[in-house]
């Protein structure tokens, strides 16, 4: 049986793509090591030294300050602990560091959650009924920029919803990663974590793992906005 042109091309693709060599080290690990030059370590050690000296001075009172300084300086320079502490801090960003700082503090209120869920219900209803312009306006500006054009997005969504029979909207779904893990899908937008809510839409009638969407509903001064973060 003769091979088609497609078969030949795909075989070539396989040969070329499988010849790629995986880099020796994972990128961020190598980066985080490189991002810790000696100067930074030394600066961190100096800060800790200063803190130790300061605390000793405060605790020892105004009298015997000089001996206390000498003792703490010797301890700080002799111990490896100061260099270990700053490296742990730099190499381990907390989840909050991956998103923009929130405007307030605390978790979204019940009202926030209800509003976010209702917003996604409206958005999804718009899509299901072909009101793509209305749905488009509910997306955040940064979300809109992900797509080549409004028309292309609308065509894709319209075709997708042709297969949707029904759907269910769930705020704060339990079987997906928490909201902090999905912030990359917002392209660095400022997300108000004290009001933002993760909302999932599960579709029936759509085959396979494509039967769900995941959104972050963010609260801004102008109202709610949607990021598709799946």
């Amino acid at each position: 049986m003769s091979r088609t042109r497609t078969d030949v091309l795909l075989e070539g693709w396989k040969m070329a793509s499988h010849s790629a060599q995986r880099p020796e080290a994972p990128p961020a690990r190598a980066t985080s090591r490189a991002a810790l030059p000696l100067g930074l370590v030394a600066a961190a050690a100096l800060v800790i030294l200063g803190l130790v000296v300061g605390s000793r001075m405060l605790s020892s009172g105004p009298g015997p300050a000089l001996p206390a300084v000498g003792a703490s300086a010797a301890a700080a320079t002799a111990s490896p602990a100061p260099t270990a502490a700053p490296s742990a801090v730099v190499a381990r960003p907390t989840p909050a560091a991956t998103g923009k700082p929130s405007a307030g503090s605390g978790a979204p209120s019940a009202a926030d959650i209800a509003a976010a869920k209702a917003f996604i219900e409206t958005y999804t209803s718009n899509l299901q009924h072909g009101k793509t312009t209305n749905a488009w306006r509910m997306l955040a500006n940064r979300e809109q920029l992900k797509y080549p054009s409004n028309a292309q997005w609308a065509v894709e969504r319209y075709q997708f919803f042709q297969g949707v029979k029904n759907y269910a909207v769930t705020a704060n779904p339990k079987d997906v990663q928490p909201i902090a893990a999905w912030l990359t899908g917002t392209n660095g937008a400022t997300i108000d974590m004290s009001h933002a809510v993760l909302v999932e839409v599960r579709y029936t009638g759509v085959p396979g793992p494509a039967d769900w969407d995941l959104y972050i509903v963010n609260k801004t001064a102008d109202g709610l906005e949607i990021y598709s973060v799946r």
């Binding site: 880099p23 990128p27 961020a28 690990r29 990663q177 899908g185 396979g208």
Partner: protein, 156 residues
Amino acid sequence: MAAVDAPDLDYQVAFERHWDDVFRFSLAWTNDWAAAEDLAQDAFVRLWQNRATLDWDRSVLPWLLVAARRLATDRFRSLRRRVLPRSTESTFDEAMRDTWLDVQSAMSTLSPLERTAIVLTAVEGWSYAEVAAAVGTTDGALRAAVSRAREKLEVR
């Protein structure tokens, strides 16, 4: 010996287990070797940044593929304005240059969806459902994309 936390080990394992898949997915999506290397790199950087919040009992490959696809969308918007510096050493095998250039030229006639659909299902052996989830489309749309891709490659 310094202690290594579980997320660090999970990250290392994920890198060794999934880098090939993320790179090949990115290559199929972009048809650009250097861009695919950068996308794979960036996707793992995102994984590293999020490692403390991820559920490592579940496969992180879907998360990585979605991250790579989203980064690709952003990347090509950026590429219209500027040329990105390379962030990794090349993984390219010079012995494959002619083969790659021929294949790349033929594959450039396909859309990212069509190229990814046919490469991942026909070459990498992924299921339609897996690829559909990675590119954010339906199983049916993916099958249609594979058919279109075959037609385009045959008539070229």
